[in-house]
Symmetry: D2
Subunit: 181 residues, 4 copies
Amino acid sequence: MTQERVHSHDVTQAAHDVLLERGVKISDIAEIVFEMQGPYNEKLKMEECIESVEKVLLKREMQHAILVAVELDRLAEQKKLSEPLQTLVETDEGLFGVDETIALGASLGYGSIAVTTFGHLDKNKIGIIEKLDTKRGGGIHTFLDDMVASIAANASSRLAHRLRDIEENLPKNERRIIEDE
Amino acid sequence: MTQERVHSHDVTQAAHDVLLERGVKISDIAEIVFEMQGPYNEKLKMEECIESVEKVLLKREMQHAILVAVELDRLAEQKKLSEPLQTLVETDEGLFGVDETIALGASLGYGSIAVTTFGHLDKNKIGIIEKLDTKRGGGIHTFLDDMVASIAANASSRLAHRLRDIEENLPKNERRIIEDE
Amino acid sequence: MTQERVHSHDVTQAAHDVLLERGVKISDIAEIVFEMQGPYNEKLKMEECIESVEKVLLKREMQHAILVAVELDRLAEQKKLSEPLQTLVETDEGLFGVDETIALGASLGYGSIAVTTFGHLDKNKIGIIEKLDTKRGGGIHTFLDDMVASIAANASSRLAHRLRDIEENLPKNERRIIEDE
Amino acid sequence: MTQERVHSHDVTQAAHDVLLERGVKISDIAEIVFEMQGPYNEKLKMEECIESVEKVLLKREMQHAILVAVELDRLAEQKKLSEPLQTLVETDEGLFGVDETIALGASLGYGSIAVTTFGHLDKNKIGIIEKLDTKRGGGIHTFLDDMVASIAANASSRLAHRLRDIEENLPKNERRIIEDE
């Protein structure tokens, strides 16, 4: 194939752009993270939550999942999906689970805390997730609300692991390795 | 191999036996299912929840997961695991996630409702799960509390799919196929 | 919501239709199943493989995944996806994994044999999967080839479990329950 | 709980120790990685494969999974598991899938390449995996062979992502972030 490959920078940028275009700010997601992890770490600061969300958004798997999720939501808004998929997505049909599959797939990389936090957020709809889910403003966010739950869950799990590294006084280079590898 | 294969009946029986031995009755799990699905189905009866739990317990993957989970809990109670695994399991260490991995693996078979319900139950500890988690009575249930969440989540998802079949007036034979296949 | 819900029959029909439209016959998938399970069961007949594929295609989660997969392939063919997603899908970019995520999600319901068979098929491209992957004829099948691997993997795992039921001489009603629940 | 928490260093050390005790050297796993990734990268060196395996072994989720896997194998060798679990593990019963569940759970963190490579390795048993699987020497490695497939799959996926970072000439600090976060 002679077609040029997409550069990582462009994918990263696109993932950030589509989140903003769909009304999701990094601080919205960080607020969920703060609510999830605050009870386990009384010194937790919002900046750490924001940084954790930003790190999660650097993962290729996460970026790809966001692009697919937003694309399907947008196409559904524009009534451009074929039936019966159009109706399934438009109505956020209760037994339709591809949205959760894509989001869960992007959460499996951050360990069991991410998976259970994802399930909790997906069921209890906190903060921006609730706003997306109830479609205030008329948009369709069938896929995006699950992705936001996934990003928040991953950023939460990441902080839990990082907190342990700090508690154990691991030297920074080692901490980094244990944390990020 | 000359060794005889274990018959399905024996595995089924063993899975039921160990649950009871560890203090988990089918009705305990059914109560969680009732609490989860009641809000979506006002006519839901406890008998249906009990039947759904029993069906879930017939799955080979579920039975195998239960046997492994209870075995590891029992060995930890008897201090028979090697260190550092003994301490990790005994203290239900927060970043130890093999218990959730085994339980989630047994939930993935029932679709996205099962997965999100599992996450919710695992985080919010309802009914018998809370009793197991807080170790009233001194036992170790690091693996079993997650398995109970998994069984309850599956039975809940199964009921949600079954309700749809009934709402759609599918003839019984077809309903059965769609439900169970 | 006043919009009518889509009936299961329509989703089932649509999933079958789109497979055929994209050039995938049930017998094509059954051939892969035969190749996978034949070595474990010398009496295996093609009809059993076909029946197993048909049963797998009755699952809601599978049908939904097929509809999403084919939709994304079709939109990519028509150049209707936004960039950079259009290029990622069109070129079947090696590190893009949402296609595998959706397909794997639909395979997790059939146990570990399904998951390892899916991985094997996805890597070794057998039969119709290879034809789809190499895009003979110019179409884009980035998502569909993985879905076909998923269907074939599930039908294979289902046959392995069914064979055991028969070997154990379980009475038909019980066999059914153990097999399908 | 007054009991002391296990330090990360001890878990890391234990995971390395049990692999060696069970006859699995890092270079054995690196050889599988080389075989998997060599075809995609003609300049690939064994040292890179070894380094990649070592990085994968620093992950907490991976270390915990290894400890559980080896513990169950050892207990089965010593005939210390309860029946029918003892027989299921001892005979590596074909429909028993908890071994794959634990190993797959540890692979989901490295993206779709890890998952399909895991399935491929689990089915096609390459190198040390084949030696473990055929139990030359009389040991039981029902769980460990799957874990080795998981480690090798993760190290392979990690190299594929890293190669892309290098091809794109990302500056080292950014490469690191994109690679490891």
